[in-house]
Structures are given as structure tokens and as C-alpha cells.
Amino acid sequence: MIKLSPAVLQAVSKPARYTGGEVNAVHKDYNKISCSFALSMPDVYEVGMSNLGLKILYEVLNSRTDIAAERVYTPWPDMEEKMRENNIPLYTLESFRELKEFDFIGFSLQYELIYTNILNMLDLAGIPIFSKDRTAEMPFIIGGGPCVYNVEPIAEFFDFFIIGEGEEVILEVADAYIKWQAQSKTHDRVEFLHRVAAISGIYVPSFYRADYYENGLFKGLTPLYDDIPTTINKRVVKDMENVLTVEKPIVPYINIVHDRLMLELFRGCSRGCRFCQAGIAYRPVRERSSERLRSLAKKMINNTGYDEMSLTSLSSADYSCLPVLIDDLTEDYTGEKMNFSLPSLRIDSFSIDIAHKLQTTRKSGLTFAPEAGTQRLRDVINKGVTEEDLLKACSAAFKHGWKTVKLYFMMGLPTETDEDVIGIATLAEKVVALYKEIKGRRDVKVTVSVSCFVPKPFTPFQWFGQNSKAEFKRKQQILKEHINNRAIQFNYHDSSTSILEGIISRGDRRLSKVIYRAYKKGAKFDGWSEMFKFPIWEEAFAEEGIDTSQYNLRTRDFDEQLPWEHTTPGVKKQFLINEWNKAMQQELTHDCRRSSCTGCGICQALDVGIIDWEGNK
């Protein structure tokens, strides 16, 4: 057990990040434990503690009396320094046992720019960074989460990956481990990896060989054994109603990023925005019933004492029983100062009315995501939102008393012209003018946030060459010149992080060496702009002889083998190609949720169906 001295804790910022003991944290008796997990999001405590996926896994695993699941996050550099100085290995926040003593260490892979933190954490734990160097007594390192749809850049660091939704398969992995421990005489790691590779949704990267053409392009991935699948489909929860989920979340002592309860209304979104990876990754839409949600809400509130709850989903306003649920919840908590909020708003007046109903006391800003500045480009990305929709939504918001609106856009989308970029400014101007027309005043604030588009695997834009750094800069400049209204605030950031994300998200196995080299040169917390050092990465790529443009800037051919195709959400390649072609024609594709199937192939490949309570009636 690790014991931390006050000399260490009082010398670092926010020491409560490292001391555990929070309300609802689970402390198990290790005499009864046959399998232990250290669950991690490789980011700082406040970010890691806000992750819903890990909350779910924590409760699902700890619901078993023979399994222990504990937490570990990335120490902030001041704490890392103290730990290295005092030879304190990385430990978990429940039992304060060293990470090395666990059977599994699970990392949630939320975005590419936290990969170096994983390497750093393994090093702090005294665990070899490359999977090939790990010996029998060491933990298995598992990865899961949204980045699994291309894990090749980190393939060499992990023993295996869980593709798709983890709450069911993680127990299958634990059972396989318990059985293996009982049966195996050798405790040879490879023997166990063969066992887990047989579980649906598990990808063991060391069981595959990657080949490349002489010109450097990816040729293919070949299984090294006969019993290993060539493709690994994601896991999906078919019965959202009865699957174990969060009822007793940990209440942190310190303020975290999302310091509120999260009630997951449904999983999936089938609106079909062509840039969106989550839209494909979490298909099909599966709702929980409003009765189930009402009872979950009650349990969570009673168990935590939180006064704020977010009704979470990819597009919460699409929940078919939302009005009923909100009536139920507000009825249950009248007079108790309970705040319910929607994290994402659809651009229509229905959403505004709901938001108004929820926020009877406080009017914080509203956020909309038109994503692109012109109708033409919004049709390319299948956003399905018109200028009229946005102005109607804003008009409803202004009438209800809101005076702050945030608009999210992307820059660098396929077919984008300067006219589309300027369209962002024009649209924002119209929103400002609308406010003046409705309220007769000028005290409106419109924030325009523009991010740099990163094409992602398993989207119709997966073949598209990302804009260069210079091109992003030029477009940002153009937009800046066209925003002259003092009511409009323009937020954007340097494209370097998006460029790196663009390289890694469509990279292949050869990038493991680059990530390792960047880590060795001091890259950490790359997702934090104040810590991000692009020159380190440029050096690392150069030293490994990697031409980054082949990964991010090059537009690929449809018939090219893609390095990520074997870990799949189950979508048909032909569907993505069709969607790309329709994008070029500015043709829309409808939402399949309540009308005909659009042929993405996921329901058929995974034998799962849409669950839509309103549609079912």
C-alpha cells in the first residue's frame, strides 16, 4: 500500500486529486477477489472523473463480489515530479495498491492527444511500455472507448482492445481470466490472449502482422493464427432497459469538469451527419423507457445528493419520451431545487421550449451547432438544418429571455470554399440582427467557435485529405476579417492539435514508434494547449522517417486498404462510399430511426435493432 507524505501532498496543486476516499467509492476486501481492474482515463482527475463510460464499468465490475475495480488518473506534472523524486509508483485511489499488482489496467481512449499520457502512466507504474516486453506476473493492458475504430497507432502498447460498448464484454473478459487462473499451469500471457481473442469484440493486436507496399502504403493485416478472426465487430448492448448501469456514482470532493449526475437517455444517433464518427460508432439508436429513467434518476439523486443532472445522449432532444420524462422529473423534484439540463440542443423551437422549461431559474447561454456556414455545405455534411431552422430556434430563445448564443462550426470540411467560410460570419450577423428586431436592444452576445475538421475512420469522409496548417490559417484569417460586429465573439485555436489528431486518427502501426519517441522527448497532456509542443512531434516524425502528409493530407482511393478496417462498428464500406458520393451531389440522407432503412448495414451485421419507444407504440 502506498502511503503519501504531507511533504509530497502539500507541495502539489489540488492534492485531493490523489487522496481518494470519496463518497460512494468502492473498497473491496481483497481476500475475496479473484480478478482486479484499475480503470483509467489517461487525463487529470477532474477530466477522468467526468467520463460516463468509466462510471458504468466501475459499477458493473464492482457489482460482482469476486471482482474489484478501482480508479487511477494521470498525475499532473507537479505530482509526477514528486512521485519520481520519491520513488512513488502509480497507485489506485481506492486501495492505494500499486498498479503493477492489478490483473488488468483499462484505459479509456477518448481522443488521440492523450496517448502519450498512457505511456507516461505505464512508466510511472513500472510496467514496460511495449506489450512484447511484459512478463507473466504483469497486468494486461486493455484499451477501449471511441478511439478503438483505429487503434493501430497504439497497437504495440496494448495487450488487447475492447471494440464497442464495454459493460457486457468486460465481465466476459473477467470470467475468462478467473477460469484461466484456475486452469492454467504455465500462466503464459499468450495462452490467455488466445482465450480472450475468442470473445466477440476483442482485438489482440500482437496476433496480426501488418504489411506495407514499397511506396509506403498500407497493404493489409494478416492474422498469425488460424483461430483469430480477420475482422472484429464492435459489441453493442441489445437491451438498454435491463443492462446494469450507474446508480451510485462517486461524488468527488473537488469540483470536476462535469460536476453533475449523468442520466443516459439513449445510445446512438441516426441523423447521419457525414463528418460524425460517433453517429456510426454508436448505431443503432437504443432508448431506455421513461419509467426506467425516472427510477434511475431517483436512485442516483438519493445516493449522491447532487442538485444537478444532465440528461445525456448524443442528441438528447431526439429522445422520443422527452416531454413525459421531463414532466415526471420536475414533478418528482418540485421544491427541491433540482436542476436538469440538456447537454446538446437540436436546432428547433421544440428544443428551446424544453430548455426553457428546464431552466426556470437560470438562463445560461444556449449552444447550437450549425457546423457549416452555408446551406450548400450543410447539405454536403447532411446536417439537415436550414438557416430558417436556426433563426426560428434563436427567435424562440430570445423571446424566452436568452441573450447569449453560442454557435459551433467546423472549418476544412470537404468541398469548402471561401464563400462557405464567410457564410459563418454572415449567419452570425443574422442572429445578431434578429435579436435587435425582436427585443429592440443590442445587448446580445453571439459566440462563434470554429474548430478545424479532422476526418475520422468509418465516416463517409474517411478518405478525405485534411486541410493543411497553412490552409486552416488562411481560412481563419478570412473569417476574422469578416467578423466586424462587436456583439460577435470569434473563438478559434491554432490548428496544430487538429493536424496531429488528423495524422494519428488515420495512422497505422508505424506510428507507435513515433508516439513512443515523442513521449521520450517529453510530450504529455498534448490535449492541453498550454502543454502541447508541436515541435516535439515534428522531430519525432522526422526521426522515424515518417512522412505525415500520407496520413492526413492525402485523399485516399476507395479501393485502398485502410489500416483500421478490421476493428469495425459494423458499417458497410459501400454505404460510406454512397454517402461520400451523395455528399458531392449535396444530396441528403434521411434519419432511419422512424422511416426506411438507409442501408448502413449495422443492425444486420450485429443482429441488433432500433429501440424507439414512441415509434414502437
Partner: protein, 234 residues
Amino acid sequence: MTVFRIEITKEEQLRYISHLDYANLLQRAIRRAGLPAAYSEGFNPHMKVSFASAMAVGVTADAEYADVELTNNICQPEFFDKLKAVLPAGMKLLRAKEITSGRHQSMNALVDTALYEMKFPDDITADELQATIDQFNAAPTLIFVREKQGKGAKKGRIIKKEIDIKQFLASALTAGEADNVVLAAIKVSPLGSIKPIEIINALKINYLPTLDSNAVLINRKTLSAGGKNLMDLI
């Protein structure tokens, strides 16, 4: 409407949380307990709980006090049991007393003395510590330079202010019963006060150059007004 004054602890498990987080912790516990908490009016309603003091990160307390306002009448035993049952580890409910007088003064304004114990690390010997206490007590004044991050127009600058530590002490420093413990009774007044860590740093600068200030553990033993415990004022 009922107001209860409670006496609660802030123990080792909660040493490193801030005053705001400690307050949050109590408020969430009150909600878990299902007690009928009163809220302020306005756009941003907050639970009517007021504390006697704001304790710094790194400080524990044998006793902290809060006044909790409820909308309904509820008897003391019920209040005590319900709250006690839901408090997290490190926050123990010692006493609860209903405030019966119609108007009570805020504790914040009443408190005049806080008694702290400071446990020094083992690399400081008992003799060194006693010598330090003696020198400190013998000195007529002890100037300490307080550094603050500038705010507003002075943002980014460090503002220095000289203060005489001794004027904020209610009595001389004494050695505690346990090994390496120093007791300090600090005056609390509207004119300001001094933090125990500032005393420790001043001792380090003037008498104990090898001391690692971060290794000293600070605990507040009592908080009082006119020599009386805050529970006895009501």
C-alpha cells in the same frame, strides 16, 4: 423555519479539500439525508448553510461549525440521526443544537480566537523546536512578508505586504503534549488574521532553515468567541 448549529469535524481524509468543497460535501449530505433545507431566493438559489470560518487546504479540524436553516420544524434527535447517517468519512457530527432565539448573530462575526496545533516533522529535534518557540516568544515583533497574486488591474503581479505576526497571536506559542507539536492561539478579527502556515514559514525563515514547511501537519483544535465554545453561545 428552524436553524440548527452543528459541530462537525474535518479529519485526515478531508485534509486536502478546500473550504468550498467542504461546504459542498455538507450540502450534498443534507440532501442525501432528505432534510428540508431552506434555499435563498433569486436566480441562483443556494442552500442556507453558513460556516463559522473558512479553512485552508491542508488543515484538519477537531471542530468546525455551521448553521443549517430548514423550512420545516424537525426535532433535534431526528435531525442529528439523519445527518449523522449520511456524512462521509472524515466528517463526523459531534453535536447539533437548535437555535431558539429569533435572531442570532452570524458566527463569522463572533469568533475571536482559533487554536491551532502544528505537528513538525521528525527531522526537527525536540530541542530545536523548543529553542524556536523560546526565540519566537522572546522577540518583540516578527515581520513576515505576505505575497499575494494581484487581481484586476494588478493581475500577473505579486503584491507584497509586511505584517507583524505577533500582533495576531492571542498568547505565546507553547509546546503541545504530543512530540514535536507547537500550539498557537491566533486572533481572528475583522481587521484580519494570520494563517498557521504563515507562522510556520516565518519560523522557518527566522529559526529553522532546514524545515520543509510542507511536511508540517496543521490541525485546528478549537474555535471560540469570548472564551466560549460556539455551541455554548446559543
